[in-house]
Amino acid sequence: MTSVSTSRTAMPIDEFAPSAPARQKAAARPLRWLWLAVAAAVLVYLPFVLHDRAILGYRLSNIQLLNVGLAQLNLTLIAVLGAVSLNYLTGCAGLVSIGHAAFFAVGAMAAAATGAQLGLPFLVSLVAALIAGAAAGVLAGLPSLRVRGLYFVLSTMALHFIVVFAFSEYQYAAFDVFGISYPQPAIGPFALDSALKWYFFLLPIVVLCCLACNYSLKHREGRALLAVRDNEQAASSSGIDVRVLRLKAFAFSSAIASLAGALQAYYLTTVSTELYSLNLAISFIAMIIIGGMGSIAGGVVGALVWLLLPSVLTGFAGELGAAGGGLAKIFVEHRPQVVNLIFGSLVAVLLIFAPGGIVGAARKLTKLVRPGAEA
């Protein structure tokens, strides 16, 4: 209590000696850059591996590449946007939503109106999707001013059905029964006409969105969101306007989801109303449960597992072929069902035994192994 400052305002930085953890952090910096470089290198090289089906000239079998392809990776990147934005909303802001697929639909509609109907450039229609998503997010968040908990969840579900209805009316009125077809996306003269180009277009968007979510949580209003999630009373008595902040979080999250929806629509070239089912919304919830609620990494990991694991399982089932006995035979015969069964069970087991999802479990493990490591 001897080192207390006498001024009421914060002390200038140089007068303040860094505390022990802060110093440790500074020492860890070079290692951190190394890690980032390695990660970047992997992310840049990965699509070429999947495209050429080889690493450094060594041809790899499909199963060695875990039965994963580039199209899948691109769709996974788009799903990462969905999962991360839902995790921002649900895990970080504490607003459970089963209407996340609706924002994908909103993005696809915004892109259809601007890109397909008005013929505006691709990037413009992505911006339109962001704006439409934010606006729709505010609308979807309005019930949070009146109801909470389960009732709020149900309002998002109601919203889902209403948006899907609007989408199908729009599709049938303005487009073909088979769906809305989007023009070839291009950035200036550069057309996104191959899976590789798409990957390198999507990757920075996804990384930036993840970083944006992450940074926002480390600053004033983002942190306030976490506070609201953890204890609404204490948060509001710290001067946080809970209602407005929730709407902002909703707009932020759904803008990203809507962007993802527009990207998905362009990527698939044609989308129809059936794509935006309640199952899609549920799959995003499953992703954040699997990955881990309340962290950006959880959203990323969850989307990876949800989109890639089925093909890995299917791939191994294919390898199993006629080799195995009774159980293997069921697996091969009912492959899609067994994959679903494994997925449902995975979610249930994680919920019961590892409520923090894979990321939470990994954190616990590292804590056990290296008790001194960061929390």
Binding site: T90, V96, I98, P143, S144, L145, R146, V147, R148, G149, L150, Y151, V153, L154, S155, M157, A158, L159, F161, I162, V164, F165, S168, R243, I282, I285, A286, I289, M293, I330, H334, Q337, V338, N340, L341, F343, G344, S345, V347, A348, L351, I352, P355
Partner: protein, 288 residues
Amino acid sequence: MLVQFLLTGLALGSIYGLVALGFAVIYKAERVFNFAQGILMVCGAYLAYTATTQLGLPFPVAVIVIIAAAALLGIVIQFLFIRPLSGQPLLPVIMITIALSIILKALIEILYGVQPKPLATSLPTGVLILGDVRLSQLNLTAAVVSWVCMGVFFAFFRFTKAGLLMRATADSHEAAILSGVNVNRINAGAWAIGTILAVIGGVFLGQIQLASTELEHIGLLALPAVVIGGLQSIPGAIVGGILVGVIEQLASGYISPKARDVFIYIPLLIMLLVRPWGLFGNRELGRV
């Protein structure tokens, strides 16, 4: 035409109401919003297929087998999936019921295959003609059975010790624990009842159509039903079910089948905003 729609809606709504009632019982007991209610209904259709077609049991015996199996299923589900999560926040509990529905659907498809199965129960199939109005005897039977089930259920709650205990437990978990009630057993009982009600609904829907996992989507109409009626309210679930049935008929009949969802979910949204506790629920809940 209006009378016809209303009556058919009433008959159909009775089935929804039955499923919704099962839903409300589970919710009341454990605050579990059960997204697996739809697939539990599907289980009913397949249980009926097994009992009548595969095992060839006479219908009355089949009914007993189906009900016993449903009760067992409910208890097993409560033990394996729900009990470990008791006291957890909203989302994990919702999600585990979704996981449960994925698991059950996969198991059904592995056991029975993905093709729908025709049900051959000895339920009546004829038509009842009342003036201009025609009601299928099957729908009518479904409605009557639903009402009988609801009646039995009320009697159970009002007059039996187990029912009283359940009500007491639903009102206050702590008080029940303090007075030595085995809450786990009560909750398992609620799941058994909820599953039985869903399964009975499933037998009828399976008979009206086919035993197919796609019936799940029809079963999920119990969700808006129960919310419109009031999550906490047993009569609310039934009224909500009937309302959903009638809205469905009127929307399909006068506007378009596609409009059904908006005509169910827009009132739901309005209801949530204006009167979140539903038509019959208690006020205390869910407001900011």
